[in-house]
Symmetry: C2
Subunit: 345 residues, 2 copies
Amino acid sequence: MTLPATMNALILKQDGFAPRREGAAIDTLEPYLDYGSMPVPKPGPGQVLVKVRMASVNPSDLYFIKGEYGQPRVRGAAAGFEGVGDVVGGQGLYAHWLKGKRVAFVGGVSGSGAWAEYIVVPAAMCVVIRKAMRDEDAAGHVVNPVTAWTMFDIVKQSGAKSFIFTAAFSQLGKLMAGIARDNGYAMIAIIRKQSQEAHLRELGAAHVLIQSDPEFEAKLAALCKSDKPRILLDAVANQQAADIFMAMPARARWIIYGKLDTEIPSIRETGQLIFMDKKIEGFWLTKWFKHASILEKLRTLRAVQNRFISGAWKTEVVAIVKLADAIQQLPGALKRGDGKVMLVP
Amino acid sequence: MTLPATMNALILKQDGFAPRREGAAIDTLEPYLDYGSMPVPKPGPGQVLVKVRMASVNPSDLYFIKGEYGQPRVRGAAAGFEGVGDVVGGQGLYAHWLKGKRVAFVGGVSGSGAWAEYIVVPAAMCVVIRKAMRDEDAAGHVVNPVTAWTMFDIVKQSGAKSFIFTAAFSQLGKLMAGIARDNGYAMIAIIRKQSQEAHLRELGAAHVLIQSDPEFEAKLAALCKSDKPRILLDAVANQQAADIFMAMPARARWIIYGKLDTEIPSIRETGQLIFMDKKIEGFWLTKWFKHASILEKLRTLRAVQNRFISGAWKTEVVAIVKLADAIQQLPGALKRGDGKVMLVP
């Protein structure tokens, strides 16, 4: 196969970080991205070139293009962290072995991005995808599912058979609901809209609380008493999240992995950290990727893939948008909010 | 020796917890304590009766009598957690072996308190004091020195050769300064008054920052850059403490062990917990006593005692107040603030 010299991509217009944080919500892509032409990237040692079939749109992508993620933007690079595609080239033994295979990948930190026709990623960040798996499931194969799997490990280690999950109607929340139920754990899901409740229960959430319910506090207190959850997995990090943490029993851990609300939370009862042995910390998948052993990673990725192939997990896609239409259509597609948005070249 | 049936003590007037938190500062003891007569407590199995020589006044005592500590008050019981005295009775083998010996002790949770002529404590919470040690050093032998020792273990495990300590002119802060210097660690001490700086440097603090210094932030930022401290040991838990934590480098841990300020802190940059792997947690000596092995405790207590006998540590006493005068004199003595206040029967 002869590779073209240039390709189309959604290209970052800005460098570095934003001066202030607004959260993942996006009304327009125009300040951040251009749809345009750029050179096809070239793989270095240990890297592969992947012809992208489909890329996913995660909250982390949106934080990143807005300059609110933990890593600086590079103007002129393609956006997008995750996707699925076919390996068409590469350097190194493993890279050569991967050639011709369909892989799920995570990239985007080396300056090459998934919202493009081609991407260069480390061969080690590719997972060969079995035939039985749909592109829709493979494109979001790593970030959310692996996050769910590793977060569930944290829940298991907590010793409690219950945990609390905010913004639970996210793709991640839906995955967590299933894995919790299938392993005999009660997920206490916090959501915004009553209309999302039935579907989330169907997916596996044992308890669903609506944020705006006037009896929210009383219901939460009752569940904290009966179920004694010790882990709060939280992508919102606002005052309500802080108050949920304060309502939890001794040895609770508030594990923050996102900042969907710009409100700054206060810790009303720091004494709980002392006398109740509570902790506040963060979760970042990149850290897990850096520190987990290869065996742990392989076991996790295999488990994730098996859940998709068996049908226990299914990616709910609400829109598939072409790269060329993304500037116009992506913000609207993201507002539907009840499933995943995918990009295709 | 014939024991009397009754004794004098500072007796708790209230039960349970206070409705709100005000911190350790005390203007008057009258709402909380009576000086009066009560029965001499009787030791149960595994307990000893100690004739108190001297009791220390720690911040934890003040929080406790105000109902702001992690354990509920019991009306009619004597106050006071810690002191030194002579074992005059007891039940059990170890208790009998202790009889006639001078011991430092921690008690006060079983309903018997140190601010009294006699106290009943578990034999296991007594440390035999060598002759060379002064009563003044022995009376505050456990809470502050053992806290300092165990906190310093946390600093050592952090991998950085520097740490930050707020409210550093406390008895605990002074102990930390010495142990840090003697082990080659740089303590960054945060204090309120310029006048305390010279003495704290003499005791071992490598860097001293004055809270109200207009260049506080710039100086802290420079030290965070040069020394890369990872541990913030904090008894204040206000917004300045939160901001110090935010200024610290990756993998910093904000370890809260007190609440000297009632201001509620906000976490302005929750993203730091995610991307910089920072953590917020508490420290409570009681938890250490519950979870540390007997060997670890013995090793710690021996090390602490050796530091006092060698003169590396010295308890600075500003006032010794009689129990009978405490209601009148203790609040004033505590306001001197530059050393420890002791109570004697």
